[in-house]
Amino acid sequence: MSKAVLLIFLIFLSSSCFNKGDCLITASELTRIDLYQKTDKQPKTILFSSITASGYGTTLQLDSVNSSTLLIPVNPNGDTTRFTFNYEGKSDFITVTYASATRIIAPDCGAFTYFSNLGILNTSFDRSLIKLVNTRLLRDPVKNNNVINLQLFF
């Protein structure tokens, strides 16, 4: 019996005592799309004349993007956003769906919207050339980068 009491006290003593959450904010509204060559699977840099994110009456346009990594925001007021890519005289789109949930980290940190359940509703790309890697939109606050959500092969 005395061992049981001692065990209970050890459980009490070994548990965390901090009341406040750490302000490590991982919420992000940015979808990370990495671009690759479909032949050798190496990163591919493409010059986009413009990329738009539109949904619920709002359109956001990014001009002259030249990168192998794209960070495109989803509309926080809805659950679908259409990404339109204008490049090399062509225009393609991906419509993504997602769910959002609000989390309060701590009063000193605030409330944030977290996006999850990312999916592809429709696209003009060849579906076999799009790979869904991660369904949650998250930012690593230590490395200061976003997790890869989609891989797009050209």
């Binding site: 009491v5 006290f9 994110a53 609000t102 009063p107 940190c109 944030f112």
Partner: protein, 233 residues
């Protein structure tokens, strides 16, 4: 940090009491009580910390009523309380409101104390019914400043607790004491787009285990006079 120090001081006190309690348990010779599992009275109480927090602060309002009934060394306990909280966030505000109850059993290790002083270890099952709302602004959005108001209504939550504490008789019929709680395994049903944040009776849901501490006043209403050494008026 102050609450952590208080908690460990209380644990130390409880540990010292445990040693004396077990020393007392070794004397098993004189248990002459008949019908020892029949209850002899009900103790009704309230939590002083909830009352003080409600008066002193502006972000918490609540109260808690407690009752226990003795069955020899075991005490059936029931707690019922109300809890509402208003936190100012860096980008908005959060409010909740709800009621909760806990039901459980305490095992008293000061069985032969004539004043019904207690050092106990126990277990509780807690249940909470509550609603919550957050209003906040996201100014970092690429789509401009986003203002949101999100609510969860009619949430049902539950958790478990390991408890320990003391009850000390101050006057005839009046006890004071504390209960320290290690709350664990919280669960909430019915949440929508807002991840439940603070559950009445439990606290911050992101913390498991989570600590609780009550300082309580008790008044005892005897049913019948205990035979033997106990003097429980």
């Amino acid at each position: 940090m102050l609450s952590t120090c208080n908690f460990f001081f209380s644990l130390l006190l409880a540990l010292v009491t445990t040693v004396s309690a077990f020393a007392q348990d070794k004397d098993k010779s004189a248990d002459t009580l008949k019908n020892k599992f029949l209850p002899t009275g009900i103790r009704l109480g309230t939590d002083v910390i909830s009352i003080i927090k409600s008066r002193m602060g502006n972000n918490f309002s609540g109260w808690e009523a407690n009752a226990d009934v003795d069955f020899y060394r075991y005490y059936a306990t029931l707690d019922y309380g109300n809890w509402s909280r208003h936190d100012v966030l860096t980008n908005g505000d959060y409010k909740n409101n709800g009621t909760y109850f806990r039901i459980g059993v305490d095992c008293n290790f000061l069985l032969k104390d004539p004043d019904r002083n207690m050092f106990f270890i126990g277990f509780r099952y807690g249940h909470s019914t509550f609603s919550e709302t957050v209003n906040y602004t996201d100014s970092a959005s690429n789509f401009g400043i986003i203002s949101k108001s999100i609510s969860n209504a009619g949430l049902q939550g539950h958790w478990g607790e390991l408890t320990t504490g003391l009850r000390v008789k101050i006057w005839p019929g009046f006890w004071m004491g504390y209960t320290a709680r290690m709350k664990f395994a919280p669960g909430v049903k019915g949440a929508g787009a807002l991840a439940p944040y603070d559950m009445p009776g439990y606290g911050l849901l992101s913390k498991a285990p989570y600590w609780g501490f009550n300082y309580q006043l008790f008044w005892r209403i005897p049913f019948r006079k205990a035979k033997g050494a106990l003097r429980g008026k």
